[in-house]
Amino acid sequence: MQSALVYITLPGERIPLKSLVIGNTIKTNKQDVNITKSLEIETKHAGWFWIDQQKIAICHNPIYYTPEIEDYVIVQVTGKNSEYYFCDLGNGLIYNLNQMDFEGATKKNKPNIQIGQFLYARVIELNHYLKGKLSCINPQSKKEWTTGENLFRELIGGVIVDLPLNFVQSLLSSQTKPELFKEISKHSSFEVCVGKNGRIWIKGNDAVLIINLLKRCAPLQLEQQLNLINKFASQFQQ
C-alpha cells in the first residue's frame, strides 16, 4: 500500500475538501466519513486517517466488513439463476458469481454447486446500485477446476466459524506465515482457509478443538496465545 497522511482523528472533526483532492475523482467510505453541504469532510470515528488515490477512509476496528477489489473471501451460495450464482458475504450483501468463471470451464463441463455450499472466491467489481461480481479464476496459476488443486474452489467437509474482524485481518496482513498456525501444526495436522470477511475454515481430526482455541485467542497478545496452545498440547489426538 502507498503511504498515507499520519494523522489521528476524533469524531466530528472538519477538514476542507480542496486541500485533499488529488485528481478528478474521489471515493469516500460512507461508514467513516460524511461530506457536508459546505464541502468539508466530517469524520465519524476515532482512528488513523487514511487517504489514497482510491479512497478516503478511517482505519479503526469496524464490526461490519466493507469489501474492496482483490479481496479473498469465503462466501455461501444462497440462490441460482440460469447464468449466475448468488453468494452471501456475511453482512447483508449478495454478490454475483458467473457460472463459467472457473478455470477451464465450458458449457458442458462446469462445476455443479448446490445451494448452501461454501466457496473461496475473489472480489472483482464493486457497485452501489447493482450487485458486485466475484470470480474463481486465479491469475497466477493455470490449474483446471477438475483437479482439486486450484486455489478458489468449493470447501468440502470441515467446520466454519465467524471471528472478530481485527483478529482475522491481522492474520492475513503479516508477511511471513503467522506464528499461531505454526505452533498448532507442531501438535496436529490440519487444513485451513482464511477469508477476509471474518470467516475461517478448518478441516482435520482436531477441528473442533482448534476452533475453540482460536475463539479464546482473539483478544489476547501473541505470547499469551502461544502459552494457551501449549497448555492444551496433550489434548490433541494426532
Partner: protein, 186 residues
C-alpha cells in the same frame, strides 16, 4: 352544483337516446366511464371530464423523464413531459441496453451511463408489449440533462459526450450526456 358522475355509475335508461363521449351502453342502460359532469345535447348524452387529460403520445415524440431504478440491462424511467407538455399521471417507460447508444453495445457498463435520479431526454420508439413503453437515446442530442454528483450531492453540468462536471467542487463523473442546444445561446 351539478352532480359529478364516477366510472360505472348508472345515468339513465336508454329510451331512444345516444351515448356520446365518456359513456357506454350495457343491457339497454347508459353508464358513465369517466369522472365528470353531465351534458345533454339533442338526444346525445356525454360526460365532460373534470380533470385534465394526458397529452397525445405518438411514435417519435421527445420525452423528458427521471430515472427510477437501474438493472444490468434495462433502465426504468418515469415520464414527466411529452413534447413539452406536462403529464399529470404516472407513466413509465423502459430503456433497453441495445437502445442506449450505437457503438460498442457489448462493452457497455450501466454505472457509467445512467444512475437513479438523473433527468434524461429520450425518444419513444414503440408502444411495447406489456405495461411499459420502449424508449431510445441512441442519438447525439439525447441523454442526461442534469444529474447529482454521488459524493457531494451538488448539481453537475455537461462537459463532453462522456463526462459531467460538478459545479462547486470541480469533480467529474461519467454519464451518457445529451448535446446542448447552442443556437439558443447566441
Amino acid at each position: 352544483m351539478q352532480k359529478i358522475y364516477f366510472p360505472g355509475e348508472l345515468i339513465k335508461h336508454k329510451n331512444e337516446l345516444q351515448s356520446g363521449i365518456g359513456t357506454y351502453v350495457k343491457d339497454d342502460k347508459i353508464y358513465a366511464s369517466m369522472q365528470g359532469s353531465l351534458t345533454i345535447n339533442e338526444q346525445l348524452i356525454s360526460i365532460f371530464p373534470s380533470h385534465q387529460q394526458d397529452p397525445e403520445l405518438k411514435i417519435g415524440s421527445i420525452i423528458i423523464g427521471q430515472v427510477n431504478c437501474i438493472r444490468e440491462d434495462r433502465v426504468f424511467v418515469r415520464i414527466l413531459k411529452i413534447n413539452g407538455v406536462k403529464v399529470n399521471n404516472y407513466i413509465e417507460g423502459v430503456l433497453r441496453k441495445q437502445n442506449i447508444r450505437l457503438h460498442e453495445i457489448d462493452l457497455l457498463e450501466m454505472n457509467k451511463c445512467y444512475l437513479p435520479g438523473d433527468i434524461i431526454k429520450a425518444r419513444m420508439i414503440s408502444y411495447g408489449d406489456s405495461l411499459k413503453l420502449y424508449l431510445s437515446t441512441a442519438e447525439d442530442e439525447l441523454g442526461v440533462l442534469f444529474a447529482k454528483h454521488q459524493e457531494t450531492q451538488k448539481l453537475m453540468i455537461p462537459l463532453s459526450w462522456d463526462e459531467m462536471l460538478c459545479v462547486e467542487s470541480g469533480l467529474k463523473e461519467k454519464r451518457k450526456v445529451a448535446k446542448p442546444n447552442f443556437n439558443q445561446l447566441v
